[in-house]
C-alpha cells in the first residue's frame, strides 16, 4: 500500500517534471512545426541563470520567499533574450527550408550554445538549494516528501491550465489555433504570422527556461544538463502527440507513473521504460496519443 502511494506521488512529481521540461517544446512544435533542439539550451541557461540569481538574492537581506521571484525572473530573462535573438536572428531565415534542415540548424545552435554556456559560467557547478530548504517536508509513515518537489505538481498544473485557457479562451489563443490548423489560410485572412511565430517562440523559450530555472534548486547545475532533457522532452512530446498540450500532459503522466512503478518494482528496467513506451506508442499510434487533426489530402 505504502509502495502504491509512493509510486503515485513519485510518479506525479516526475510527470510534472517531464511536463515542465517538455511543454515549451510542444508549444513551439504545435504552432511552428519546428522540432527545437535548442530547447535543451533554454533549459540549461534557465537553470544557470536561476542558480546565479538565487545565489545573488540570498546574499542580500531581502525576505526569504523572494527567492522564488529570482527563479521566475531568470526564466523570463533567458526566455525573452534567446527567444527573440534566435527567432529573429536565425530561424526566420529558415522557415522556407524543410523541417529536417531546421532540426539540424537548431541542433547546431545547441552545440554552439553549450560552449557559450561554458564560456560564461565555466565548468564548476552552481547550487541554488535555498528555495528547496524553505518549504520543508512532510512525513507519512516511512515516507517523507519535500514540499519543493511536490510543488512541481502545482506548477505543472498552473502552466498547463494557463496555456489551455490562454489558447481556448483568449483572442490570441484563437489566432494561434488558426495558425496551427492552417498557416496559409490564416495568413490570407490577415493574421500576421510573423508576429505569431515570434511570440510563440518566445513563449516556448520562456517555458523551456522555466523548466530549468524551477528545477535548478534540486540539482547540481553543471555542464551537460541540457543534453539529457532533449531526449526526454522529445520522447514525451512524441508519445503525447507532437504539438498537443493535453498530449504532453498525458505523455508525461504515462511515462512518469510507469517509471515510478519500474523504480519501485523492477529497478533493473528503469532505463528502458521511456523508450519502450515511445516505441510502443509510435508503433500503434504514430501520430501520438493526442495529435491535432490533419486536413484532407485529395
Amino acid at each position: 500500500m505504502l509502495t502504491l502511494i509512493a509510486i503515485l506521488v513519485d510518479g506525479l512529481i516526475y510527470s510534472s517534471y517531464l511536463f515542465m521540461v517538455a511543454v515549451g517544446l510542444t508549444v513551439i512544435f504545435g504552432v511552428m512545426k519546428i522540432l527545437n533542439v535548442t530547447h535543451g539550451s533554454f533549459y540549461a541557461f534557465g537553470a544557470y541563470m536561476s542558480a546565479t540569481l538565487v545565489g545573488i538574492y540570498y546574499q542580500t537581506d531581502l525576505p526569504e520567499f523572494g527567492g522564488f521571484l529570482a527563479i521566475f525572473g531568470a526564466a523570463l530573462v533567458v526566455g525573452l533574450f534567446f527567444g527573440v535573438v534566435l527567432e529573429r536572428g536565425l530561424l526566420r531565415f529558415l522557415y522556407h527550408r524543410d523541417e529536417h534542415t531546421i532540426v539540424l540548424a537548431t541542433f547546431a545552435m545547441f552545440l554552439v550554445l553549450e560552449d557559450v554556456l561554458l564560456m560564461i559560467w565555466g565548468t564548476d557547478p552552481y547550487y541554488a538549494t535555498e528555495p528547496m530548504g524553505l518549504l520543508g517536508f512532510i512525513d507519512y509513515e516511512a515516507l517523507s516528501y519535500d514540499l519543493y518537489r511536490l510543488s512541481f505538481i502545482a506548477l505543472a498544473i498552473v502552466v498547463g491550465l494557463g496555456l489551455w485557457l490562454g489558447l481556448t479562451r483568449t483572442k490570441w489563443g484563437k489566432i494561434l489555433l488558426a495558425v496551427i490548423f492552417d498557416r496559409e489560410i490564416s495568413q490570407a485572412m490577415g493574421i500576421n504570422v510573423t508576429v505569431v511565430f515570434l511570440v510563440t517562440f518566445v513563449i516556448g523559450s520562456i517555458l523551456g527556461a522555466l523548466g530549468g530555472a524551477y528545477i535548478a534548486p534540486t540539482i547540481s547545475v553543471s555542464p551537460g544538463i541540457g543534453v539529457e532533457v532533449i531526449v526526454l522532452a522529445f520522447a514525451v512530446v512524441v508519445i503525447g502527440g507532437m504539438g498537443s498540450i493535453p498530449g504532453a500532459m498525458i505523455g508525461s503522466l504515462l511515462v512518469g507513473i510507469s517509471r515510478a512503478a519500474a523504480v519501485h518494482k523492477f529497478p533493473e528496467i528503469e532505463l528502458f521504460v521511456i523508450y519502450a513506451i515511445m516505441a510502443a506508442v509510435l508503433a500503434f499510434r504514430p501520430e501520438g496519443l493526442f495529435a491535432p487533426a490533419q486536413a484532407r489530402k485529395i
Partner: protein, 262 residues
C-alpha cells in the same frame, strides 16, 4: 456494349456523416459520363471508393467482373482504372518530361526490371509522343511547379493515361481554368483519350462542358445518385435542376478557383 464497371449498394459513412448512400451505377465500354453535384455531394468520395483510396462501409464494386473492394489504388490502377485529380498530383520539382518518364517507367517495369535504367531512348520517344498527343511538348523541359494551371492539369491527366486505362476518372478537369481556355483543354483531353477508346467518367461543375462532351450524367445530392440518365434528359430533370444546376450556375459565377481545397 459490355459492362466494365458495376457498383451496387455502395455506402460510406464517416462517423455520423453519410458521405455515400445506396449508390448503384453501371458503366459500359466507351461511355463518356459526367458526374455532377454540389460541393460535398459525394462525387469525389465516389471516385475515391472506386479507385481504392477510401474503403466503402458496404456495397460492391466490380470491374470487368472482378471485385475491387479492399484493393489498394495501385492494384486497381494495374487492373485498368486510372484517375486524375482536382488539384494536379504531379512531381512538382521535376520537369514535365521527367514526370512522364517516371510514369512510363512505373507502368512498364516490374520485378527485377525495376533495377534497369530509368532512362532509355525508346522510352524517351514514347514520352515525347505522349507529350505531343497532349500538346504539352513545348513545356517538355519546364519544371512542373512553374506550369500554367491548365498545362499542369493536362500533365496530371497525361500521367494518368500512361497505362492506357480501360476507365479514366477525371476529378474536375476544368476547375481553376479560365472560361476561354476550358473548351480547348477539354478537346485535347477527349481527342487524346478517344485514340485509346478509353471509358471516361469525369466530375464537372460546368454545365456547358457537360452538355458538350458527355453522353450520360450521374447527378449526386447528399451522397445519393438522384439522377442517372442521358445528358439531355438529365438537364431537364427537376431534381437536377433544383439541387444541382441552380446552385452550380450560381457557384461557377462567384468562385475564383483559388481557394479550391486540396
Amino acid at each position: 456494349m459490355s459492362v466494365v464497371l458495376e457498383v451496387r449498394d455502395l455506402q460510406k459513412t464517416f462517423g455520423a456523416v453519410v458521405a455515400a448512400k445506396d449508390i448503384n451505377v453501371t458503366v459500359n465500354e466507351h461511355e463518356i459520363i459526367g458526374i455532377i453535384g454540389a460541393n460535398g455531394a459525394g462525387k469525389t468520395t465516389f471516385v475515391n471508393m472506386v479507385t481504392g483510396y477510401l474503403k466503402p462501409t458496404s456495397g460492391q464494386i466490380e470491374f470487368t467482373g472482378r471485385n475491387l473492394i479492399g484493393l489498394p489504388p495501385r492494384e486497381i490502377t494495374k487492373l485498368g482504372i486510372s484517375r486524375s485529380f482536382q488539384v494536379p498530383q504531379v512531381f512538382m520539382s521535376e520537369s514535365v518530361f521527367d514526370n512522364l518518364l517516371m510514369a512510363y517507367a512505373i507502368a512498364e517495369e516490374t520485378g527485377m526490371g525495376l533495377l534497369s535504367p530509368l532512362y532509355n531512348d525508346e522510352r524517351a520517344e514514347r514520352v515525347d509522343s505522349h507529350l505531343r498527343r497532349y500538346q504539352i511538348a513545348e513545356y517538355r523541359n519546364a519544371t512542373a511547379s512553374t506550369l500554367p494551371q491548365g498545362t499542369r492539369k493536362l500533365l496530371d491527366i497525361a500521367m494518368a493515361a500512361v497505362r492506357k486505362p480501360t476507365i479514366l476518372m477525371l476529378d474536375e478537369p476544368t476547375s481553376g481554368i479560365s472560361a476561354e481556355e476550358k473548351f480547348g483543354l477539354m478537346d485535347i483531353i477527349m481527342d487524346a483519350l478517344r485514340l485509346d477508346d478509353t471509358t471516361v467518367l469525369f466530375i464537372e461543375h460546368d454545365m456547358e462542358i457537360v452538355e458538350r462532351y458527355v453522353s450520360r450524367v450521374l447527378a449526386f445530392y447528399q451522397g445519393e445518385v438522384i439522377c442517372d440518365a442521358p445528358t439531355a434528359e438529365a438537364m431537364v430533370d427537376p431534381g437536377v435542376r433544383e439541387f444541382v444546376i441552380g446552385e452550380e450556375y450560381h457557384r461557377t459565377r462567384t468562385e475564383n478557383g483559388g481557394s479550391e481545397h486540396a
